[in-house]
Symmetry: C2
Subunit: 238 residues, 2 copies
DNA sequence: GAGTGGTCTAGACCACACG
DNA sequence: GTGTGGTCTAGACCACTCA
C-alpha cells in the first residue's frame, strides 16, 4: 500500500552502498577499495552482480579499475556534467512560452576558403546558408548563423524554417555521429546586434557548434545570445 | 606483430554493430529494433552478452528500452555532451604552461542575507571568503570569487592558495555530492576588470558554480574569465 | 603463483505489456 | 498466454600485475 521502495535490485544495493561510503569520504581518492571477491562474500551475491555495480560506478567516473591490480576511489579532480545542447524550440516550448523564428537569409553561397576547409568541401563550391533570429515571446534570444554541407541535406533550402528549426530538421534528415562545441563570451557583430535589438557592446554568449556524420561535416553554426537573456545551466550528481 | 585490434569482445561487437546501423539511419528514431532474442540468434552469443550491449547503448542515450515492449532507436533530439569543469591548475599544466595565483583576499566575513540563504547558514554568521586571480604564463585568466561554508572545510583559511587551488583543496577535504553550474556572458565588475587587466566593457564568460555535500552547501564560486582569453570546449560522440 | 578485474555462458525467475 | 526486457546465478577461462 504505502511502500514506494520496490526493493532495490541487489546490484543497485551494492552500488548504493559503495556510493554512500565514497560520498562520506570513507575511501579517500586513490584509496584501494574492496575487491569483487570481498564484496561477493559481504553481500552474498554472485560475482557478476558485484561486477555490474562496479562497472557502472566506473562508467560514472566514481572509481578507477585496473586489471590485475584492483579498484580505486577516483580522484574526483574533474567534475563532469552532462551539458545538453538542445533544440531551442523545445527549450522554449518547455517553459510554456511561444517560439517564433525570423528567417533573414536562406540561400546558396560559394564557400569561402576557411569555411570550405571546415565543412570538408572544395573552396568556392556551393554550400547552404541560413541566418535566423529566434524569439521567445517576441524577444530575440538567439541569432543562428548556419552553414550546411549540401551533400548531407539536399533538401535544406526547401524547408520552411519559420515552422521548423534547422536543428530539428537536420536531426531527422541526417545521421549524426559527432558534435563539437565551443562556448565563449564575445561581442556581437553589427548585424547581429541589430537583429537581436541589443547594444553593440552587449556581452554575448556565443556557441559555435559543428556536427559530423560518419565521414563528412554536416553543418557549422554560430549561435549568438544576448548575455542578459540567455545562459547555459546544468548540474552533476554522482 | 602488426594487429592493433585485439579482437573486440563479443558484447562490444554487438554494440558496435548496433551503433553503426543507428548512425547510418537504418533505424530511424522511434523505430523498433531487434529484440534480445533475435540478436542472440544472430550473433550466437548468450543473452547476458546482448543485454550488456543494449544496456550500455541505453546508458549512452542511443536507445530507449521499455520492459514488456521492446528496444527503440532513441530520438536524438538532444545532443548531450560531457562538460568537464576542471581544476584550472590542471588545465593549464596540461597545456604545458605555468600557473600562478595571486591571493587578493582570504578572510572570514559575516554572510549577507542572500549568500547565507544559498550556503544554508544563518544570516550574519561567519563564512570564509577568498578572492584569487589565476594566471597562465603571467596573463590573468580567471578571477575566482568564492565563499565557503566553514562547517564543511574548517581548515580553509589556513591554506596557501598560491601553492594549491581552492578547487583542489575542497575536492580532497570534502565529500562532494552534487554540483550545479550556470554559464553566462556578462561584464566584469570594476574590481574584476582591474584584477584581470581588461577593459571595463570587455565581455566575460562567467561561471557560477555551487557544490553540495550530502546535506549542506559546501561552496559557491563566481569565476570570471576574459572572453578574449578563455572558452569552454567539448565534444560528443555516440 | 596468487590475486585482481574482464568477460562469457546457459539457464533461471520475475514484472510488464499486449492481444 | 506470449513476448519483451530486468535481473541473478555458479561456474568458467582469460589477461594482467605483483611479489
Amino acid at each position: 500500500m504505502s511502500s514506494p521502495s520496490p526493493r532495490l535490485a541487489p546490484y543497485a544495493q551494492v552500488k548504493q552502498y559503495l556510493k554512500q561510503r565514497l560520498a562520506t569520504g570513507d575511501w579517500p581518492p586513490g584509496q584501494l577499495m574492496p575487491s569483487e571477491a570481498e564484496l561477493v562474500a559481504q553481500f552474498g551475491v554472485s560475482r557478476m552482480t558485484v561486477n555490474r555495480a562496479l562497472r557502472e560506478l566506473q562508467a560514472e567516473g566514481l572509481v578507477d579499475r585496473v586489471q590485475g591490480v584492483g579498484t580505486f576511489a577516483a580522484a574526483l579532480h574533474k567534475v563532469s556534467s552532462t551539458l545538453t545542447l538542445r533544440d531551442l524550440h523545445e527549450e522554449i516550448a518547455e517553459r510554456g512560452h511561444r517560439h517564433d523564428a525570423q528567417v533573414v537569409a536562406q540561400e546558396q553561397v560559394a564557400a569561402p576558403e576557411a569555411l570550405a576547409a571546415q565543412l570538408g568541401v572544395a573552396p568556392g563550391s556551393p554550400v547552404f546558408h541560413t541566418l535566423i533570429v529566434h524569439r521567445e515571446n517576441g524577444v530575440p534570444l538567439q541569432c543562428e548563423d548556419r552553414y550546411v554541407n549540401p551533400a548531407c541535406a539536399p533538401g535544406y533550402l526547401a524547408q520552411d524554417f519559420s515552422r521548423t528549426t534547422p536543428t530539428h530538421y537536420l536531426f531527422q534528415a541526417t545521421a549524426l555521429w559527432r558534435a563539437q562545441y565551443a562556448i565563449e563570451a564575445g561581442r556581437p557583430t553589427a548585424e547581429e546586434a541589430r537583429l537581436l535589438a541589443i547594444a553593440a557592446d552587449e556581452p554575448c554568449l556565443i556557441i559555435v557548434r559543428r556536427t559530423f556524420s560518419t565521414e563528412a561535416a554536416i553543418t557549422i553554426a554560430r549561435l549568438v545570445h544576448p548575455g542578459s537573456r540567455y545562459g547555459v545551466e546544468g548540474q552533476f550528481t554522482p
